[in-house]
């Protein structure tokens, strides 16, 4: 996905850009509303991540301007202020969702997915691999056998694998991305979800291969 991150704290912005890039997203960073407006006028983004307190104004005014210009790009507000007073006002001023810093990136991803699903996502979310078609927004997987609806964790796991076919992912890396940090899970917990995905893929030529001692990879053949 292509993100526009509007955040004035350069250190935080850098970290967020790095983190999202790790997941294969493309991120432009605007430190001010003026720069953000320039970016938004020339590039079409899947999602805008907007901080509220910015050096050249309130993020809400940017939001209002975007909406007045009929720019429907979904916006998730990231705020460091108290969540009590902001949420209602934020949604009223046209934001699609709202998160309080520090951001849990798994939650951000889930929220992006929810927002895009609500907005009726674009076809760019559809991935075709061999005899498989996968819609990462709705979580539907088309196989020669038919259509399957993946559950949230199956969906995220499959998305990781399908975005980098052939790449080996360790159990630990997959656990990090599937479970929240306060869940005490052993690395073997991932086997349950690998097992479920394999059942969906029975009829396909693609398969999830166990690389002994290293992890898993998706083999499309």
């Amino acid at each position: 996905m292509r993100f526009l991150l509007i955040e004035d704290n350069s250190e935080l912005a850098e970290a967020v850009v790095d983190r999202l890039t790790l997941d294969g997203h493309v991120v432009d960073h605007a430190p001010t509303l003026a720069v953000a407006a320039d970016f938004a006028s020339v590039t079409s983004y899947d999602l805008i991540l907007l901080d509220i307190m910015l050096p050249d104004g309130d993020g809400r005014s940017f939001l209002k301007r975007q909406r007045n210009h009929k720019d429907g790009t979904p916006v998730i507000v990231l705020t460091a202020r108290s969540e009590v007073s902001d949420r209602v006002g934020m949604l009223d001023s046209g934001a699609d969702d709202f998160m309080v810093k520090p951001i849990d990136f798994a939650e951000l991803e889930a929220r992006c997915r929810a927002v895009l699903r609500r907005r009726g996502g674009k076809s760019t979310n559809r991935i075709t691999l061999g005899d498989l078609t996968f819609d990462s927004l709705s979580g539907t997987l088309h196989t020669p056998q038919g259509e399957a609806q993946l559950r949230p964790r199956e969906l995220r796991l499959f998305e990781i694998l399908v975005n980098a076919p052939g790449q080996i992912f360790s159990k630990g890396a997959l656990v990090d991305r599937l479970f929240s940090y306060d869940e005490e899970v052993s690395e073997n917990a991932i086997e349950v979800y690998i097992g479920r995905l394999r059942r969906h893929l029975v009829s396909s030529r693609a398969e999830i291969v166990t690389v002994r001692g290293l992890g898993y990879k998706l083999d499309a053949q």
Partner: protein
Amino acid sequence: MSEPVAQGSLRRNLTVMLLLGAVGLALLVYFIVQSVAREIAQESQDNVLAASAISILDSARVVEGEITIDFPYASLSMLDTVTNERVFYAIRRDGRFLTGYEDLPLPTEPATAATQFASDTFLGEPIRIATARRGLSSDAGASTLEVSVAQTLSGMTQTLARISRISMFVGGGFFLLAALLAVLISRATIRPLDRLAASVARRGPKDLRPVAAPIPMEMVPLVRSLNNFMSRLQRSLSRSEEFIAEAAHRVRTPLAIVRTKAEITLRRVEKQENREAIRDMIRAIDESSRTAGQLLDHAMVTFRADHLLDEDVDLAALTQDTIESLRPVSELKEMEITAEIRGTPHLRGDAILLQNALRNVLDNAIKYTPAGSTLSVTLHETDDQAVVTVQDNGPGFPKDDIDGLRYRFARGGNAAGTIGSGLGLTIVEDVVTAHGGRLTLSNTEGSGACVTISLPS
């Protein structure tokens, strides 16, 4: 908040004082009318008596040294009023009795040329006597003829009684009129004060604008200090709000940087013990940011609950919206949230606080319930209450100390290993109490915790 001590009432004091004034004035009117009328009645009686005496004098002639009085009929008949007064007369020459009633009292004052009047008693009855004199000259020399005419006072007494009655009516009427005016005046005087009180009482807790409506001059100092006080309160309120927001910003931004960098590092690190350490770090960051967040939330909730808004809140929409906002989080744990909303309960209060409370309850349920379980939220109305229940199928609250959980920093014995601050339920309790509702924590048969919030609708 303590009730102000009321001592006396301006309206009552004003009314009482005006009424006392009215009583005094009415009495004064009564006495003036009575005395003027009495004087006029007396004067007209005196005039008649004088006229009668003078007409007798007029008819007196000296013929050959003897005095002849041709008693004019009118002279006494003019005294013979409808009340059948008894009339007496006495005629004296140089103090010597000639004719009439010899015992009729003489004027007590020394004789003068003008007609003299006196009140006295005669034959046991009060009378009024007019005495007129005239010098007569004859061959025998000059002499003085003195005529006294008297009349009983029974008619006069009746007239005076009538006058008394009339002046009483006049005084009474005057009093009623003045009393009516007193009530109207005191009401009109107090009205601006009532208006000011009503306009201040009508305001919402956040409305701290100065009073702008025109007020009488005398109230200017009061309203000036009121406005002054409100602007000071406004400043201190917005300072607290800004402080809370700013504190949140200052705490959360560095935590966000650390957390994000920790996640990135975790992706790049291979060694198992390093990965464990980083996971522990992220957990600690989440713990502290959550605690900081809830401390600030708690401050904000306490602050807002002290100045509770009185807005219409659509509880059904609010519940639905809160569930939707947490659905992505629940999906991360493959949890299902089912909502059963019956009716359209509305209540008065602060939507932001209520949403915060509900989010805390749901947040808790998501955190403390194992992955893959189901949360069911119901909202229904009774006669005078809206009841929200959040039921999970997790381990339930610790059985020995369910109610202790609502206290600050109390955490369940089974909460170890889960990130939490122990403030969540305290916030919920504070919000619910501020809205006059009740928070109930219970365990359902079998397993699962159940949180019930009842709010008066």
